[in-house]
Symmetry: C2
Subunit: 213 residues, 2 copies
């Protein structure tokens, strides 16, 4: 399924609080209603059992929206719920080992902050890259900012789609080098919004209008 | 390989500190030299990449000692390094899903604190049980103590081996109901000892002498 995927608006979940399952699922559903194209599940602070239970629910939900469902880091949970793919960072299992575990057909995304990481990820079997952080972010305090030019340099060296990530919101999305990013990945700009559906619609519209200008 | 495994002295690693890889590996090696029969890798605080790297090294090491190598919780890392098995607690992936992921031949251990959990684990495909905590423990502050009688009750209801776990040391090992436990699982009593090899030898001798009395 690695072809023909629209990465325009890529939502990363990082909003689960123990005891607030239904509120959490409602927010993600609203985001999907607002046009999210890819859903990545990343709830590292929950127990493995809780992650598994939530992932099962989100897999069903994203399937009903015909949206690929990807799990961050935990290949085992991705296999257990038959997710559509896995996303790994540079501190997770190596991409080539993940590709071996998930087989050729599932999506593999890899986080890259440099041309070197990007080229290696593509060679190791990545279907797309998450490139960032492009802006300061509250959800990953330790994330390193990259220069905007780095996206252009990565674009020249790899052929797979690039999703820009890190602190993107309705304001700064205009400053992204739209020619080089196939999509934007967002967490809090959607999930912390009072109206996740409206926030998703607005972000997607702003990204696409800029891209197609 | 689920038959003919000696569970007498079962070591759980929980001692890795970033930057002290060689010291860590040395301690585990000394423990194996002291007679550890099963090695479980549990380093939940390390990144997935670090866990993977350490697990690869420990898999090779335990293989050279002909000791089964089991990974806690992370089925993906177990598959990636071709470990001999997986151990899951009640807050990890459900045993039946783990069994499906690892296939019929790899070892599956499940933590159980009650007869109900033990019976369910055996039904769901567990090869052995970790039962505890039998004593107060420093390494798992939130662990619930079980009554000693619970091991006897579990022993009556399941046929798979039982490994007692939780705060076991050279002193209190004498208080365990030896007839019902096939082995003892230990962390700090070995890995925090000045002489891990000597500590392992002593614990094993005390457990076995009591068991065969």
């Amino acid at each position: 399924m690695s072809n023909n995927i629209d990465y325009s608006l890529y939502l990363v979940t990082e909003a689960y609080r123990e005891g607030y399952r239904s509120e959490y699922l409602k927010k993600v559903r609203q985001a999907l209603q607002g046009g999210v194209n890819v859903l990545q599940f990343r709830e590292k602070n929950a127990s493995s059992l809780r992650q598994f239970e939530l992932a099962k629910a989100l897999k069903d939900m994203s399937q009903s929206f015909h949206v690929p469902f990807i799990i961050n880091d935990r290949v085992d949970i991705a296999l257990a719920v038959n997710a559509d793919g896995v996303h790994v960072g540079q501190e997770d299992l190596p991409a080539e080992d993940v590709r071996r575990l998930i087989g050729p057909d599932k999506l593999l995304g890899v986080s890259a902050a440099t041309v070197e990481e990007a080229v290696k990820a593509e060679r190791d079997g990545a279907d797309y890259l998450g490139v960032g952080s492009v802006f300061q972010t509250g959800s990953k305090g330790d994330a390193t900012l990259i220069e905007m030019d780095e996206i252009a340099r990565i674009r020249q060296e790899v052929t797979i789609p690039i999703v820009a990530i890190g602190g993107i919101n309705a304001e700064n999305v205009k400053r992204l080098p739209e020619r080089h990013a196939d999509g934007i990945a967002v967490i809090s700009a959607i999930l912390s919004a009072a109206d996740p559906k409206g926030a998703a619609e607005q972000l997607k519209e702003q990204f696409l209008s800029k891209k197609h200008k």
